[in-house]
Symmetry: C2
Subunit: 308 residues, 2 copies
C-alpha cells in the first residue's frame, strides 16, 4: 500500500571518532525513504535548494522513491546541518544549522499523493505536520516523530497533531518530557491517552519498546562492535517500521515484526556515513540480520521449576 | 546440584518515594539466597552480629537455606546500610554504612560446603573472594559480582579473582570501567579475555545482556508501572540465574533461560521492600511472569520482503 513521508532532505556535515564528511546526503525524509524502500515504494514530500545535485534525486528514484513532491526552490540553498559526535557517540554537538530553503517549507501534496494510506510525519514543526494531515484524504495509519524543541516550544500545536495520529515514535527522554512521567509504562499510558494508539520508544543501544493495545513488546538492539555514525538511525528505524507495515498491514504480529524491521535497518545505517550502507545493502543482508535479531532474543518457552 | 553463596547478610534502612523502612532484612547473600531457593537449596556463608533476630535465620532455613556457614559474631552488631533513592529511583544516595561485624569477616566454609558445585561470590572484597576460591574443591561453575569501588581500589586482587571464575555479573558502567572500553561488545571481549567465559551485564530497566561462547543474548526487563524499592535487584537476578543453573545445568539453552529466570526474580523483588515480595511468591507467579517475559520478546520468525 502507498506510503508517504514528509520531512527534510538535507546536507549533513558529520564528524565522528572514525572520520569526517563535509557535505553528504542527509535529512529525516532521506533516511526514512531509503530505509522504507527496502519493503515498499515511497512518496516523498520535501524541499531542496539550487545546490542539490540531480544525482541524489536520480538515486532516490532508482530506489523506488516517487520524487513528484520534492520541490526545488531555486532561490536558496539546501538545509545544512553540521554536528560532531563525542568519543562515545552518545552525545552530538550541533555545530551549525542553516535552515536555508527549509525555513519557508510549506508541504504541498501533489494530487497523486493525497490518497496515501500510510503516512509518516518526520520531525518537523507541528504546524507543518497539521498542514499535511489536512491534505491527506483517508489514511489507514499515520505515524509521527517529534523532539524536545517542539514539546516545549509548540506544545499546543503538537497536542493537536497527536490527537490525529495513530503512532508516535520518540525516544525515552522525549516521552518523559511529553508526559511529565519518569516511569516509561506510566508515560506511555499518558501519551496514548493524548491520541496515538501505538507508541514506539527508541532506546538506542538498548533497542525499542512498543506499546500497542494491551501489549508491550521489546525489540533488542543489535550489539554492534563499532557504530560508525549514528546520524539517521531514528529515521531509518521509522522507515523500516512504516515500510514493513505499508507492505504487510498493521496487525499485532506485523507491528512487532515492523519494530524488528526498523531495528534491522537502523543497525545497518550506523555502520557507515550518510545512507552509504544502504547503497550496498541487499535482501539477503536484511534477512540474515533479521535472523540474528531473532536468535538474540529467542529462548526456550518452558521454565523448569522444582515440584512443590 | 549444590549452590554456595558468600556475601553479606545485613540490615537495610531504605527510603524511596513510596515509603520508608528503618531496619529490614537485606544484604547481597540474603537477596541471592531467597531468590535462588525458588529453584534449588542454597548454602550460605556470611556473618551477623548479636542483634540479628533468630526469626530471620529461621525464615532462611524454612526456604531451604543451609545456614551452617552463617556465623554469629557476639562481639558486634550486624552490617547496616542506609540509603535514599531519588524520585526516579535511578540514583541512590548512601546515607550511612556501618560495617560492624562485616569489617572482620573472613569467610570460612564448613566442611560440608567445600564440595559445592555452583558458587556465587557476591560483591565483597576480592581478597575475600580469593579466600573462598581457595576453599572450594572442584566447582563446576563459579560466578561473581563486583563494583566500581574494587575495580579502582583493588584492581590487582580483582584481576586474580577474574582469572579463576567462569562468570561475571556486573552493570554497564562497571564493565566500561573494568575494560576501559565504552562500546559494550568490545568491553565484553576484553573482560572475557581476563578470565570469565560468560559475562552478564545487568542493565536495569533495559534488561540484561549475556555474552557466552559466540553468542549474545538479550533479556528484556519487565515493564513495571511502579518500582517500589530497587534494593537487591542485582543480587536477586544473580540468585535466579545461579539457582536455575544449579538445578538444570549450564548449557547454552539453560544459560539463556537462567538470565530470564534472574530477570523474573528481580522484577518481583523491586515490587516491595526488602525480600517481602519473595515471602508471598509462589511457583505459579514465577511461571506466569516467565510467560510474560516470553511474550514480551517473541516475534514471528519470518520477515516478508518483496520479491526482487
Amino acid at each position: 500500500m502507498s506510503l508517504l513521508v514528509v520531512g527534510s532532505v538535507a546536507f549533513d556535515g558529520v564528524e565522528t571518532p572514525f572520520g569526517k564528511r563535509d557535505k553528504v546526503l542527509g535529512g529525516s525524509a532521506t533516511f526514512f525513504s531509503t530505509s522504507a524502500t527496502n519493503f515498499t515504494p515511497v512518496r516523498l514530500v520535501a524541499v531542496v535548494g539550487n545546490d542539490f545535485p540531480e544525482e541524489h534525486i536520480d538515486y532516490l528514484k532508482s530506489r523506488g522513491v516517487d520524487t513528484k513532491g520534492l520541490v526545488r526552490d531555486k532561490d536558496g540553498k539546501t538545509f545544512f546541518w553540521r554536528g560532531k559526535y563525542d568519543f562515545n557517540l552518545n552525545n552530538c554537538e550541533t555545530l551549525e544549522t542553516q535552515l536555508n530553503v527549509f525555513a519557508n517549507f510549506s508541504p504541498v501534496l501533489p494530487d497523486g499523493f493525497r490518497d496515501s494510506e500510510y503516512v509518516f510525519l518526520a520531525n518537523i514543526d507541528p504546524v507543518l505536520q497539521l498542514k499535511v494531515l489536512d491534505q491527506v484524504q483517508k489514511p489507514k495509519l499515520v505515524a509521527m516523530d517529534t523532539m524536545n524543541f517542539w514539546i516545549t516550544g509548540k506544545r499546543n500545536e503538537l497536542v493537536k497533531v497527536l490527537e490525529r495520529v495513530d503512532m508516535l515514535m520518540i525516544n525515552d527522554s522525549e516521552a518523559r518530557q511529553l508526559s511529565g512521567e519518569h516511569n516509561l509504562v506510566r508515560a506511555a499510558k499518558k501519551i496514548r491517552a493524548m491520541g496515538p494508539k501505538h507508541l514506539m520508544l527508541k532506546q538506542g543501544e538498548y533497542g525499542a519498546l512498543l506499546f500497542s493495545g494491551d501489549e508491550v513488546f521489546r525489540a533488542p538492539a543489535y550489539p554492534l562492535e563499532s557504530v560508525f555514525d549514528p546520524t539517521g538511525a531514528g529515521d531509518s528505524f521509522a522507515g523500516g517500521v512504516m515500510g514493513y507495515l505499508a507492505a504487510n498491514g498493521a496487525g499485532t504480529s506485523e507491528l512487532k515484526q515492523a519494530v524488528i524491521a526498523g531495528s534491522v535497518l537502523a543497525s545497518f545505517v550506523v555502520e557507515d556515513f550518510s545512507i552509504d550502507r544502504f547503497r550496498r545493502l541487499n535482501t539477503n543482508d536484511i534477512q540474515e540480520r533479521f535472523k540474528a535479531f531473532h536468535k538474540l532474543t529467542h529462548f526456550d518457552d518452558t521454565l523448569r521449576l522444582p515440584k512443590v
